[in-house]
């Protein structure tokens, strides 16, 4: 049986439970949410901006940002909008809220008020509640997205959508595997089905809400095929529940050809699988995340990583780029540092706005490779799910057919070991249980041997460690000293 759309009855009865999980959930009304969203002008709608950017072949810029208290959060967003010239705004949620630890979030709020500075790593939207969320979304001109990392984001979604946010990040896999330890996939995917249905419900009533699965996963040497497989599945899951504006993402790997190829492959694969699943009525956009792994501490070097990310994102024709800051290695950025990341990125994409990267045979080879890799895993997923991609993905992750490197979730197999080849492409050293075609495995092995040869060492785990540190130490490939 294929995973279908949640029925309205199921949705509503589950909703009753959800609203009870914290006082600010009480008394929320779907109708009032719809009504409020209906008053938001189209220029403040996230989905509208994404569609417009696709049509005009523009690349938009979005920072990450969130602090504990509402007034400070508003000041932060306003600064990023004016000084930082952000096209799209975020509200990054704190890590207690992400784990539904609203008590701890409340302590964080209290301590932040006392310390006169944010002691939370994000904005505790659930604790602040509906009216405060509206105060935030009304305080700026741009649309705001909720960005988090929450396995169970149902209450957060209900509150923030009714609060005027018009885009919601996450997914049942991408907000579990990299962000949780003991949450079962069945649970997180069910909760995200509910979130997607909530957004589908808004869509049913003519309110366009953008949805974005979290592409970069652990942000650390994630091979394109892993990220893209998750993106395709979460895309299917979202469309199944009635989502229409879908943004699929990918985190920069570092090699120009591989990154551009991954973004091209992402668009092609998504369209292929969505069509195959019977979806035709969706707006597909893409997001490119600037380098998501460890950053260099030196700010000049960080600027370089940021600019390189913007450059590749633009060459890859991303609809939007998520921007890092020169403080990345050290801590949550000040608003000034955040604006600096935006301005450096803006300069880069503007200098490239009329330039097109010629994508020739080398790129095509890599696009086709990535697509073949994804198809290999998707075939197995459909097989395991008896035709159902979502069920199949749960089985696949449990069996290690789909495996995310360096992830904290215990359900994740964790045997897949990536490392860079001699040209800095991310390749696979240990496939774990991934059922990859033999010729593809042979290609990866060949490429890694080339590296080993040129470094005069055998392919070894130390290379993985060296590669993890490489960018923060100023290189792409972790060569022996």
């Amino acid at each position: 049986m294929k995973t279908g759309r949640i029925s309205m009855d199921e949705f509503l009865s589950e909703r009753e439970q959800v609203l009870k999980s914290w006082p600010t959930g009480e008394g929320l009304s779907l109708e009032k949410g719809l009504e409020y969203q209906g008053t938001i002008p189209v220029e403040k709608n996230f989905a509208h901006w994404m569609k417009k950017a696709i049509d005009e072949k523009k690349t938009l810029l979005q920072p990450r940002a969130g602090v504990a208290l509402v007034d400070e959060h508003i000041k932060l967003l306003q600064y990023l909008e004016t000084e930082g010239q952000a096209d799209l705004l975020p509200t990054t949620i704190d890590a207690y809220t992400r784990q539904n630890r609203y008590e701890e979030a409340q302590t964080g709020i209290a301590k932040s008020i006392a310390a006169k500075t944010s002691l939370l790593n994000g904005f505790p939207a659930v604790n602040h509640g509906l009216e405060e969320c509206r105060r935030v979304t009304e305080s700026v001109k741009s649309p705001i997205q909720v960005r988090h990392g929450t396995p169970d984001a149902r209450l957060l979604a209900e509150i923030t959508l009714a609060g005027g946010f018009t885009s919601f990040e996450g997914g049942g896999i991408s907000y579990n595997i990299p962000y949780a330890k003991k949450v079962s996939l069945e649970t997180s995917m069910a909760h995200w089905r509910w979130v997607d249905r909530l957004i589908g419900f808004y869509e049913d009533h003519g309110i366009h809400i953008n949805r974005e699965p979290f592409g970069p996963l652990t942000g650390t040497l994630v091979p394109p095929f892993v990220a893209l497989t998750v993106a395709v599945i979460e895309g299917i899951a979202a469309l199944t529940q009635g989502v229409k504006s879908i943004t699929l993402g990918y985190g920069q790997g570092g090699n120009l050809v591989q990154d551009v190829a991954a973004m091209y492959a992402l668009r092609e694969l998504a369209d292929e699988y969505f069509k195959r699943e019977g979806f035709n009525d969706y707006e597909l956009s893409t997001v490119f995340h600037q380098w998501m792994g460890g950053f260099p501490e030196d700010e000049a070097k960080a600027f370089s990583v940021i600019t390189w990310g913007a450059t590749v994102g633009r060459f890859a024709k991303a609809t939007k780029i998520i921007v890092k800051t020169p403080h990345e290695a050290m801590g949550i950025p000040t608003k000034e540092a955040n604006a600096q990341g935006l301005l450096a990125s803006r300069q880069a994409i503007n200098m490239l706005s009329e330039q097109v990267l010629p994508v020739g045979p080398t790129f095509r080879r890599e696009i086709d490779l990535i697509k073949a890799e994804v198809n290999c895993i998707m075939d197995k997923i459909y097989e395991l799910g008896l035709g159902d991609a979502q069920e199949g993905s749960i089985a696949a992750i449990k069996a290690g057919v789909l495996d995310v490197p360096f992830a904290p979730a215990s359900v994740n197999h964790g045997k897949l070991l990536p490392m860079r080849d001699d040209e800095g492409y991310i390749r696979i050293y240990n496939w774990g249980k991934i059922p990859m075609a033999e010729e593809i495995k042979a290609f990866h092995a060949q490429r890694l041997n080339d590296r080993a040869k040129s470094e005069g060492r055998t392919v070894c785990f130390q290379m993985v460690t060296d590669d993890i540190y490489a960018i923060s130490k100023g290189k792409l490939v972790g060569r022996p000293r």
Binding site: A95, Q99, G108, S118, L119, I332, T465
Partner: protein, 141 residues
């Protein structure tokens, strides 16, 4: 030296697992018995593991910025549980925002941590310091 136990983990609701895996790998290679509790570890879990393994040291990581909240009180709880002498090391991006290491250090020293490291901690240097600290506590390495 396989008999010296280290309890390792990332405290609070912090999911950053990469550094944790590297620390486990590094100290295992150095010959310690590493009891890695992974990410999202509570103070109780740290203490229980230390009691179980009779470890002379707990290594706490905090990357995500809530370190100041999550790490407070661990020393007191250790004393409560009879671990007066245990070494407490803490490292990572311990506070919210870019902050000079000296400030962070003094904050966490006051909380009772013996050693405080930044995200750029040179692990070889950490190992050397650890050996000195262990010797002082009477361990022969």
């Amino acid at each position: 030296m396989g008999n010296i136990n280290i309890v390792l983990g990332v405290i609070g609701f912090d999911c950053h697992s990469v550094g944790n895996k590297i620390l486990e790998h590094f100290f295992t290679e150095k010959g310690y018995s590493v009891h890695n509790l992974g990410v999202m570890v509570s103070q109780e879990e740290f203490i229980n593991a230390a009691i179980e393994t009779a470890a002379p040291i707990i290594m706490v990581s905090s990357l995500y910025g809530h370190g100041e909240i999550d790490c407070a009180g661990l020393r007191e709880k250790c004393i409560e549980k009879g671990l007066e002498d245990i070494l407490l090391y803490v490292g990572g991006n311990l506070v919210v925002g870019k902050t000079p290491l000296e400030q962070v250090e003094s904050k966490f020293r006051k909380m009772g941590y013996d050693r405080v490291f930044g995200p750029d901690a040179d692990l070889e240097a950490v190992d050397s310091i650890l050996r000195v600290d262990l010797k002082e506590k009477g361990f022969s390495l």
